[in-house]
Symmetry: C2
Subunit: 186 residues, 2 copies
DNA sequence: CGTAGGTCGTTGACTTGTCAACGATCATCG
DNA sequence: CGATGATCGTTGACAAGTCAACGACCTACG
């Protein structure tokens, strides 16, 4: 029975949920908030499992796996540091340190960029590719188990559409996926 | 946590699932992977913005905001540490440290649990409630801007259903929301 | 040219989380 | 009762990310 009145400092235009009963909600429960919370909870719980499984089975974090994958997919199996940072959604210093780790493990090498002397590229080593392939089975298995396996095709289509619509406008630089240093891109 | 991904766009009309020539996809592109990637990307980009906005406007991280909210919603505006940890999806030590911070800021106080001498409760202070209310306007505004505002009611219903179906089976302990120490609850 | 300002990747200092281990307390069962 | 084992919250040591600042380099414009 504490605190019955909530000061409505928001615009009273909408159907204000004026504090009704004794147990006033602290923040108005807006429609859609349930979806938002599901989103956060699902992400936290799933990535926690996936990260753990990847760690014990292959000594890789999810971020490291992702970085290896992004490099492997790039033409020449090499990516400029800043591009990689953007794809993995990490700061520049974050990518520097992540590549440090991968390099120490022998999964990646650094190479100077031929067209821009400031640039560095992360290049996948054969060992790194091997590790990525082996980790991919673990990872995809987990994604299926925790995510894909519980959703049918319609669910997945809806998710991709909705979440894409949400994510796309937040892209950092909207420049069209400029790749790297190689003079001629395949 | 960082930001993973699984599989980007394939090159032109490649349908081969079998490992092909040198430029073969490293991992097979499975249907549904697009949804998974959208999920990860959307989460990373949105939470980054929300966290930043909350930080500059109120000096709160998203996790701290979430913890305050969970405490505020609990009966008596108090929650046992382990329950809080589960709701915010943090380890026990993580919650200890987060509550340390909130306590140092005067937003929360610790109280011994009356029914279990091992237990501690985090209790919201009036100041903490005030801060939560003020931060909520910023936060909800951001959630609307980046998430709710780009989705219609059907999208939201679909998201909540799909993601709930994915998140629910991953709940740590499936015990039915047992609250805390207070003897009798309404 | 040449200099002013932007970008690139790295580093130091710091924040925020995890895990393993600990003392204290609870619960069970002899 | 008393021992045994689980659970609670905290702590030390560490991991992995951020920001601010740096030198090196690119670019553009006088």
């Amino acid at each position: 029975m504490p605190t019955p009145s909530v000061s409505p400092r928001t615009q009273p235009a909408a159907k204000a949920r004026i504090a009704g009963p004794a147990t006033a909600a602290v923040v108005a429960d807006e429609p859609g908030i349930g979806a938002w919370r599901s989103f956060l909870t699902a992400h936290a719980r799933i990535t926690r499992r996936l990260d753990e499984e990847l760690q014990v089975a292959h000594g890789l974090s999810l971020a490291e796996y992702d970085a290896l994958l992004q490099i492997a997919h790039a033409p020449g199996r090499r990516v400029r540091m800043n591009v990689l940072a953007e794809r993995v959604i990490l700061s520049r210093s974050g990518i520097t340190r992540l590549v440090d780790r991968l390099e120490a493990a022998g999964s990646v090498e650094r190479a100077a960029c031929t067209t821009d002397a400031r640039g560095q590229e992360a290049v996948l080593t054969p060992l790194g590719l091997e590790r990525l392939r082996s980790a991919a089975t673990t990872h995809l298995d987990g994604v299926r188990r925790y995510f894909l396996g519980r959703l049918d095709a319609a669910d997945l289509a809806g998710l991709e559409a909705s979440l894409g619509r949400v994510a796309d406008p937040l892209a950092s630089g909207n420049h069209p996926t400029h790749e790297g240093c190689s003079p001629a891109e395949a």
